[in-house]
Symmetry: C2
Subunit: 316 residues, 2 copies
């Protein structure tokens, strides 16, 4: 069988990651470049095209027998499924909304099929091809990081919705009287169980009390909680109750076989997965719970490029 | 073209509805029977088989030129998509869980393809074939009645999840510190915006105050609200805030083209649709809102049998 590789690129607010990935998800080569700070939208396109060029040239030189099957790109922001442009991006990448990623890449590399999707959607593809989702048809990915991202797979395919914005599970409200979220809703789960949400909770909790040394951020809270600190336990009870309520809602709405949990927060605290499972199980109807599992996501920073490249295997 | 009809049956806690429906969704004949109160699981099966028998005999007699293409059944409870049995039913129909509906019907009518699904899922099929969903690929149905039911259509197909339980949108939590729900979660939207949820809210609100005459149930509240009563307006603000938060979450999670709203509560108060739209819009990010509409469902009690029959056209 012919040796094949796909180009995978992961575009984020701080870096662009490039890799050549084979059909089995093995990274053949990879590197990282910082996201340009000045005129980032045009800068990202310049880095993207130059990076793919460089990767193709190196592969041609060093592995001439390899057939490059296509280009897969995962990007921060919401991506239009129709034309692979940026439908919406928050201010982390100023001016990024509207960038025609797919059109620019296809213009430069017309011989290679190109696919662009949201960064969490491509993480779900990485799970489906190489991770927890290999045997699954219906699952949900939730990434607990600075914010909360999500992706939904049903019948083995990503759920995109009308333009590609589906999967924003961080904006399920768990308190309709809660604080206002940037999305317009109130009490979104992102305000309770993401890195920034946990910081907000800690600030609120210790506003009128002596603040323990650990109570600065999510990492501090998770460490203190894992060490058995009682105050940290109380703060974590709020995080877990909010997250358990949101995930139980997701289970009732989608009846998935699994919720695949990843992101920096989960990777930092291995005990967290079991605690989230308890909080979710106790809020889910038994008949739904019987069919669902909580599973850890593929860890590490390369899941993004591997999932981006997996689009090529998924769609060609 | 040959004249065709499908048998549609709607099994609920109070009645079984039977109809012969043509491909255009026209009801050719129909009748209703009360749900047997004694040994309801076996009684429903007896009524179901006898009712289909009677309908087939009448059609043969009165419209011998008509080809019967199959049988579609919509039922209360959660239905196993694999074998058309009842995966779970609440106590409205005691002993109904486990009833092998599809197997029993196929045993009796082996020549007719038989399809069984949840009652709200078949309402979504009615919308897709004959209602608000005709031009849509990605939409969500929400039925506000005694409880809150839901159904999700993505890419023109019902989302069933792993066994068929998907779409329980009434069990999205909007207050993780709220009252306990029968499903195990806290503060489910069903506790705020269904008939029973509104009764609960009214009871709570007027526990320590003189209760206005209208404040007994959802119909009373909706009438008083539509007449401009100030107290009713305050109570409705809570209902609408909770419902708007839940629906905004659904929009962010699924990026649908439309939310199709139906059920007794919506039919009773035409002004409600616009109020729910306002409450949802103000909680949804503009880029998501731009692509979504709130639409009224097919009204009336025949949507259930029409949707049940539509399974035959959808799947054969």
């Amino acid at each position: 069988m012919e040796a094949e590789a796909a180009i995978g690129v992961d575009i984020g607010g701080t870096s662009l990651k490039f890799a050549a990935v084979d059909r089995e998800g093995r990274v053949l080569r990879h590197w990282t470049r910082p996201t340009p700070a000045i005129d980032p939208s045009e800068g990202i396109m310049r880095e993207l095209l130059a990076g793919i060029d460089k990767l193709l040239a190196e592969l041609k030189e060093e592995a001439p027998e390899l057939r490059v099957a296509g280009i897969g790109i995962g990007s921060a922001g919401q991506i239009h499924k129709r034309d692979g442009s940026v439908a919406f991006a928050v201010d982390t990448i100023p001016g990024y909304t509207g960038t025609p990623i797919k059109a620019r890449v296809e213009e430069r590399f017309p011989e290679l099929p190109t696919f662009v999707d949201n960064d969490v959607n491509v993480l779900a593809l990485a799970e489906k091809h190489y991770g927890a989702g290999r045997e699954l048809q219906d699952f949900v990915c939730v990434a607990l990081g600075t914010g909360i991202g999500g992706a939904i797979v049903q019948g083995g395919r990503l759920v995109h919705g009308v333009y590609g914005g589906a999967g924003e599970l961080g904006h399920l409200s768990v308190d309709f009287n809660g604080p206002r979220c940037s999305c317009g809703n109130y009490g979104c789960i992102e305000l309770y169980a993401s890195g920034t949400g946990i910081e907000r909770l800690l600030k609120e909790r210790f506003e009128n009390a002596a603040k323990p040394a650990w109570a600065l951020n999510a990492a501090g809270l998770l460490n203190a909680w894992q060490s058995g600190d009682a105050l940290a336990g109380e703060a974590m009870d709020v995080v877990l109750a909010a997250l358990g309520s949101a995930l139980a809602g997701v289970v009732h709405a989608l009846n998935p076989e699994a919720i695949v949990l990843g992101g920096g927060i989960v990777e930092k605290a291995p005990a967290l997965l079991a605690a989230i499972e308890d909080a979710t199980r106790s809020r889910t109807s038994p008949v739904m719970w019987k069919h669902v599992r909580l599973l850890p996501a593929i860890a590490g920073s390369r899941a993004g490029v591997i999932g981006a490249a997996a689009q090529v295997w998924q769609y060609t």
